[in-house]
Amino acid sequence: MMDFITKLLAATIAMGTSLTYATLGEIYTEKTGILNLGMEGTMLMGALTAFATAYNTGSLFLGLAGAIVIGAIFSAIHAFLSITMRANQVVSGLSITMFGTGLANFLGQRLGPQTNNFNLVGMNLQSKFNNIAIPGLHKIPVIGAFFDVSLLTYALYLIIPFAWFYMYKTKYGLAIRSVGEAPRTASAMGLNVARIRYLYTIIGGMFAGLGGACLSLSFTPSWNDNMTGGKGWIVIALVIFATWNPGKAVLGTLVFGGITSLQFSLQAAGFRMVIPSQFLGFSPYLITFLTLSILTIANQKRKSLFSAPSALGTSFAIDEK
């Protein structure tokens, strides 16, 4: 039983790594008031770029770098459209997802080797981000699962506390929150609203690209059409579930990563499912829907429980009232 739980936790962490990167990114973006629904497309482009770069150069780290750059480019398009051109953020995000998924699936059939008809599907990497076990620690039951993970996950152990600290304990974090809560006041206080929104939208995209890279370089080291399989939408849900708090992002990814892994491991163990697997599949969305509704309703009586950025999804220009 202990062994089963440890294995389940390990699978959860492996799956949750990709989600956590993207969720942290989207939290920072949304905190400044920009809703980026282009996550799915950006993550898929990240996964494709990482895999194609690593496959063609043999370097995993170049793959990571490529994913970060492409994430920055895609979110910069969203930032340009929704900040400079004041376009509707929902439509812009959806368009980015449509464009990104299309382009990734297209390039996946163009960047492969000639012998495989330029197709990347079915190709393997020479290496991947393997799990590195920390001697001694990884033998501890259950908790040991945290000490036998890939480099990409170890990095998160530093990034998550830092992301929390940066948001709530530094003046930069304060600037992010004021821009997302009350852009007009923030602007009056001398903050450059547009610049801050650009910066964190692009950083958010870099994290989404990294999230995609985690899939294609570590979790399932390969390329497949639509390999993100809706993870970009789960990310939008996770941001709400974490109530826009980077520190809580990891809880959500563990719960939702756990639900998915449980589904797989129970199936693999040959259990006859009491709950149909599709119910587990949509439960993250249902839970998020309920969380959001209940928190909002409860929040009407008691403030501060719930912290959706007030200016989320709205454009801002100094010259307007």
Partner: protein, 353 residues
């Protein structure tokens, strides 16, 4: 030295309404040509193949029109909620709910005389879609729960539930997935080759929505709430009631679209029931400027981009995903251009100020 500033227009421009989409579309074609050329395809040959793929002969025109119908209906559905600045991005889920409701009636209500299967089934699609939208609508109106996020989440609940039904609970005894084929009486007849009778519903809805939005008191109220909620409240317009009404109406149309498409095209509930029509509908409502008649053209263009992509694969051996790339490329410049409907660019020479 020159400086550009973006200024709000003081008067509405007569020309920008036409010029902006045309210039944006030209930029899209240019960007598309770059992508095509980069993948070693002749852009002219590619565009020609796409045009032939979507409008080249009668069958292809019919196919494009058939694809345009659910897009148009979802666009109309989303558009009516958008009038209130209400972001219903749940048309996809409402569409799937409609398909589920329809399937439930035509497969299991065996006590109905065959003549009634189709009308009752479509009605159930309308009800299911309406309810699926009514929940987030009520949550928003009553407690201010963010509708963009709730409608988005409910999409995946509906899609997951539909999957459970066609893979497991309602699966036909034979085959991998999907319910048994619907009885003949439950299938919308064809009126022109692949174009089915759903076209009458779609066109009727365009006229009805245009009439409601521009000629009735309700439409006037919706417009007022969207443009100036405060003024609407002073006029005694109930915002809560209107949000719920508009959402029920919006979901009902999306649900009807799902019921119609499932009846006439798939003819059973199976994989592919979530064909992204609801998501594309959001874009169509926005591109059509929330005008029902404008949505017709936009829906046909978007349908043509995806049906034409099939021909790209056949004629030029290009991956079919190119269609989605081109759809995205049509949207992005248009989004950027939308700024110029309300703002204009002023060039200031340094020193001239």
């Amino acid at each position: 030295m020159m400086r550009f500033i973006i200024e709000k227009r003081t008067t509405k421009s007569k020309y920008s309404v036409f010029i902006v989409p045309l210039v944006s579309f030209a930029i899209s074609l240019l960007l598309g040509a770059i992508v095509l050329a980069a993948s070693k395809a002749n852009p002219f040959a590619a565009y020609k193949a796409m045009f032939e793929g979507s409008f080249g002969n009668i069958r292809r025109i019919q196919y494009t029109l058939r694809e345009a119908m659910p897009l148009l209906m979802c666009g109309l559905a989303v558009g009516i909620a958008f009038k209130l600045k209400f972001w219903n991005i749940g048309a996809e889920g409402q569409y799937v709910s409609g398909a589920i409701g329809f399937t439930w009636v035509v497969q299991f209500w065996t006590f109905l005389p065959p003549v009634l299967l189709l009308p009752v089934g479509l009605l159930m699609g309308i009800i299911a879609g309406g309810l699926w939208a009514g929940v987030p609508g009520t949550l928003k109106a009553q407690w201010g729960v963010d509708e963009t996020l709730t409608t988005l989440m409910l999409n995946y609940v509906a899609i997951g539930y539909a999957e459970y039904l066609y893979i497991d609970h309602w699966k036909a005894p034979f085959g991998n997935m999907g319910t048994p084929k619907f009885p003949d009486a439950a299938i919308l007849p064809s009126v022109w080759g692949r174009v089915h009778a759903g076209v009458f519903f779609a066109l009727a809805l365009v006229v009805i929505l245009w009439f409601i939005l521009y000629k009735t008191r309700w439409g006037f109220e919706l417009n007022m709430i969207g443009k100036n909620p405060k003024a609407a409240r002073y006029q005694g317009v109930s915002i809560k009631k209107n949000i719920i009404m508009a959402m029920l109406f919006s979901g009902a149309i999306a649900g009807l679209a799902g019921a119609i498409h499932t009846s006439a095209v798939a003819q059973k509930l199976t994989t592919g029931v979530n064909g992204n029509y609801g998501f594309t509908g959001i874009i169509i409502a926005w591109m059509g400027g929330l005008n029902p008649f404008g949505s017709i053209i936009v829906a046909i263009v978007m349908a043509a981009l995806s049906t034409g992509a099939g021909q790209l694969q056949i004629a030029l051996k290009l991956p079919e995903a190119m269609g989605a790339v081109l759809q995205g490329l049509v949207l992005l410049p248009l989004l950027a251009g939308s700024l110029f409907n309300e703002y204009h660019l002023r060039v200031i020479k340094k020193g001239a100020e």
